[in-house]
Symmetry: none
Subunit: 424 residues, 2 copies
């Protein structure tokens, strides 16, 4: 098996201001490709430290991935160290320089000498063209070993890893021998899912087949891994889970979000959606509009944070606000209906709740949320009890709202977390 | 200055399943005590790897902190490695054993041999009593060097660091000697800031004073660190930066977001804000409502994703949409004004742009955004050119919009990124 080392360069990592998330992301990608990362050295922007880490990794690892220290300021010295290590000089990479110049011109930003230096790379390296930033990636091959150098900005690093580095590494190690199947679920807790819904799966497991529960803020991802021709056994396990927990599964792909599923379904079914948000403050609308193509099915949102907006733009009568309060079934139902009618959508969804951390009462504690749903055929509201954390409450509320929409569009009976629908 | 190394032990760290947050937390605590962490090695639960990292760190560092591999399962081999490294044998630490036994009794859990082994430590070490878990911490002193071994569970590690390790380290190094000053800036690029605005600061720097540029997605954080009574020199550097780049500085605290500053300013000045968002899709509204207390100054938002919503809820005439298009100065200006009037706010801010990744034309490419601002005294719109990335375009647009509001509320002349205001 091919062994990899990582070198993470940056004073900010050693002062603790920045958490080294790059290292774990890279490790995950490597392990998916059958390459095992066995060492991560985090070193400062300091020449002896970088050179010593390079020597160590180039001796012990087949592949070394170094990130960071490629920026335009005086403390970025990774390229200087590479020149010394390889006894090379810096040369200008013309396509990168052209791109940087065009970028600056297009935005009308003055071009300074440190920007020119961004396009310099040590001679003899393969340049990995960075279409997301100014610092090019580099690929060095020496005596059967490979050194890959990437910018430390996570977005740029991920782009270069995905588009440039992993395809080359795949070609080096041959086809991956590990198969992974994913099921993404929402609207159910981990222990309920494993104990009551999926149940005992030991008869499906054997050496070479694993089932992992990966709970995260917005649901649970199940990962089935299978090695070396156990694909059919993995398929049997997957089919068992699908028949037991099907209604909760919103995707069989690892990287698809619930909002993507909702946008795709609504586009296919030509259903338009609008939201009226109080406690979520635009978060649902934001999630939906993060999805490319959402403009075909999403009309928009009225974020009615202040009660006057609920009255004037969503036609919630003052008397209803007075009698039931803004966080109530009655207000949620009117908001959902008005979202659909005012914004001209087939489905209206609404949220109103106590986001926290303050503002709760005994009758309406922090974390209490009403979610309203309106379509021509159905309308109801549900309440849920979430947490003391404001951001978490927004996220959970949005995911439940999106899951309600998904189930309604597909005609799946029941609601996430077994919430009970209430009508007016 | 005392130099520290860290060794993080654990396969899960190298598979990428667990992000190494311990390392940055420990680094921060060390730097606050004037101890500089200059190396973090992340190694697997593997004897040669642990022994090699130990040898390296005990040679180069004054203080080494090793975390992880102290659990009760077969893959936890840190103590075995320590015995081999120090040529010591394991002895039972009676107070720890008593505590574990009491703990198990109290919870009615059966006591197994692997639990007894938890109380074993290499002879000659000082035991750091762990009141939060079963694995004791250890303190080894050898030839003027110190090795500290802690469990990898973050809660237990933090407890032992805070209650046991840091008081001892403080006694070794004397009172805390490191000061950190932060300046958070937005609305300017890193190279423009460093080359053209702040300029050469070498006359302010000397051993013990450092200036670091920490660029991130939403701006740049400048960190000035100063050691050993160089506080006045640091203040001179900070004052130079403030006088050169003052308008860009939105906070002098490291953890404050721009939206928090906007909410606080608006609350103090009793200014209410509303948004009309197209390309940002509710992201600005979401950022503002993430801040506790935003309900006092934020009225809400109309997310006008579909043009019909721009017409019916924001009074953008169809003729204007036809003549200039939805992504135009004219539409941005009307949207901003309608946001304020329809939602009853003092300030209205609007966004309309081509978020991407598709939908651009030659005249209106992906990444083109118009931002409108309306208050009783001033109204204008600006356009910016951002990226091909949809999410990034939303984030950048929102930050520019928030920064425009901040500058307007404070009466700071000029706009972020030197954008030029255009009127109707």
């Amino acid at each position: 098996m091919m062994l990899a080392h990582q070198i993470s360069v940056g004073n900010e990592l050693l002062l603790g201001d920045t958490i080294n998330t790059n290292a774990s992301w890279i490790s995950q990608r490597l392990s998916e490709h059958g390459i095992r990362c066995v060492h991560v050295a985090t070193v400062p922007d300091d020449k002896p430290a970088i050179l010593s880490a390079l020597a160590h990794s180039m001796r012990d690892a087949d592949v070394t991935i170094l990130t960071g220290g490629l920026g335009p300021t005086h403390d970025d010295i990774t390229k200087t160290c590479l020149c010394e290590y390889f006894n090379a000089r810096l040369v200008c990479h013309k396509p990168t320089l052209d791109r940087i110049q065009r970028m600056f011109e297009a935005r009308g930003i003055p071009f300074s000498p440190s920007n020119t230096a961004q396009a310099d790379v040590p001679e003899h390296c393969d340049v990995l063209f960075n279409s997301q930033g100014t610092a090019p990636g580099m690929w060095f091959a020496e005596k059967g070993k490979v050194l890959i150098v990437l910018p430390g900005v996570p977005r740029e690093m991920k782009h270069l890893m995905t588009d440039e580095v992993l395809p080359r590494l795949r070609a080096m190690v041959g086809a991956s021998k590990l198969n992974k199947d994913y099921l993404q679920l929402t609207g159910i807790g981990e222990s309920t899912l494993s104990d009551l819904v999926i149940g005992d799966v030991s008869s499906y497991l054997k050496p070479g087949i694993e089932l992992a529960y990966l709970p995260h803020a917005h649901g649970i991802t199940l990962r089935i891994t299978s090695f070396n021709g156990l694909v059919e056994d993995a398929a049997r396990l997957k089919s068992h889970i699908l028949s037991a927990a099907g209604p909760y599964v919103y995707s069989e792909l690892p990287d698809v979000d619930l909002e993507q599923v909702v946008v795709q379904l609504a586009s296919e079914k030509k259903v338009s959606i609008a939201t009226a948000e109080s406690c979520t403050g635009g978060w649902i609308s934001n999630l939906i509009t993060n999805v490319p193509g959402s403009s075909t099915m999403f009309k928009g949102s009225i974020v009615a944070y202040h009660n006057s907006v609920k009255q004037h733009l969503l036609d919630v009568p003052e008397s209803v606000l007075m009698e039931y309060g803004a966080v109530s079934k009655q207000v949620a139902l009117i908001m959902a209906k008005s979202a659909a009618s005012k914004l001209g959508a087939d489905i209206g969804i609404s949220t109103t709740g106590i986001a926290g951390p303050d503002g709760g009462t005994e009758a309406k504690p922090v974390g209490l949320v009403w979610i309203g749903f309106w379509s021509r055929d159905t309308h109801f509201a549900v309440y849920a009890r979430f947490f003391r954390d404001r951001i978490l409450n927004k996220e959970r509320t949005a995911k439940v709202a999106l899951e309600i929409i998904r189930r309604q569009m597909l005609g799946i009976p029941g609601l996430p977390f077994d919430l009970k629908p209430e009508s007016a």
